[in-house]
Amino acid sequence: MAEEEKVIVNNKGLVRAEFNFWVGRYMDKFYDGLEQKKIVGNKCPKCGDVFCPPRSVCGKCNENLSLDQNWVDLPDSGTLQNFTITHFKVTDRRTRKVKDPQLIAMVQIDGSNTAIVNRLLNMPPDEIKIGMRVKVDWSEKTTGAPSDINGFVKV
């Protein structure tokens, strides 16, 4: 509708009920690793798949990956498995265009069987190729949080 909307009731800010998720014991180890600029995953004792980030259960095998074993130290390098370039900010209240399109990648960390989703940095879009080698660009001051990884850069 072209005419300007008239706001009659605005529910914003009446209630605050924000979640305070605990990352859980497995992701705790993962984030502890990030703080030391290290990537860890864990291995299903049954099928041998290596999960990065780690999981408490392998869905395929319905098997628990016990917390005190199965850990695997992984390098901070990997292979670009997939990518997309988005012109929209996905966290915004409204779908809004961004100034510089974000390059978002699925990267399979070497030694793992899964891919993680993060940004691709300093890369002209026409140079991106599936299968190319990339590595983590670490944040200068790590805090054991998702933001410790700035993104991935070409090796």
């Binding site: 980030p53 988005t86 012109h87 929209f88 996905v90 779908t95 399109p101 978002i104 899964t114 989703v117």
Partner: protein
Amino acid sequence: MEKVGIVGFNQVKMYSDANYGRYEMIFEAVRGALDKSGLKKKDITTVISCTNDYYDGRTISNLFTVEVGGGYLADESKCEMDGAHAVLYGLMRILSGNHKLAVIWSGSMPSCYPYHSTRLYETDPTWERPLGYVNDITAGGFQMRAYMEKFGVSKEEIAKVAVKNRKNAAKNPLALAEAQNANITVEDVLNSEIYSDPVTELMVAQPCDSIAAILLAPERQALKITDNPVWITGVGYSQEAYYLGERDLSISKSMEIAGKTAFTTAGIKDPKNEIDVAELFEAYAHEELILAEALGLADKGKAANLNSEINGDLAINPSGGAIGGNPPCATGLIRIIEAAKQLRGEANGYQVKGAKKAIASGQIGMCAQNNILFTLEGSD
């Protein structure tokens, strides 16, 4: 499986910003379905709705739809997935032997909330959500690229699906006006705004406002209500891994399993030749190809070669599909309604000649994580 019939249905026209409220829209859909079938509130024995608390902006959101959805002092419950899953819930209530008429309704009004932002709430709050790189749009970009890379399918071939569905939507009076593009070309689709490369705006099934309702009854009851029931002959559904990084996005394993289950129940041995019309929930143009391949309607990577026009070898989404309008939670239910219309010969303007057997699918989650397939047959 015991015979359960679709004995009525109704759908509100899809709008990008409907000029009436949720309550009115739900009532129009449900009461309209009853009126068209000559039924009354007292005939309803169970009501199943499908909405999403996030999309409704309140918890246990079926509490506020009791009166308008026909659920007042009735056996009433809700399914928080796709409307097609609610039809499965309703089917199970009928198969329990305790019910004579199930009302199933679903839908949403995304003109009231930021749809793509709410999809971010599907992601893991302790890992992916704080980064904000995965929502339905970026996931669709990954899925399309995975499909193209794996099978060497071109953007043009995928854009053709959007062209077909938008042209079909132009023949469907209930489709979203913005998706009724009678003169659209492959170039228009490719040159439309990039959403998440390689996905462009016109390849997306745009969220819109609508509510749809369907009525189910056991065989004996169904034949009393109508001379022309549509029979549910089979159903299958399956769920894939949660994290995108654990899935092969170029195929749909869950739809493959859903299809096999439904076809086995329905006694369909050669889906490609036995099925006359398919209404598939494609959230993006490329998904129609991936889903058709998972169902065995084409070889892997070859669905673009299938003539799926209204009078082609196997009509897919003659109504315009989800690209013709995608009201969150209603889209899969609308696929079932559209397939039923085809089997009753009521798809005026986009009728597939002599349609006897149809399939209809619903989905939920990033990159169609969960798929459900119904097989339907018309009355002789």
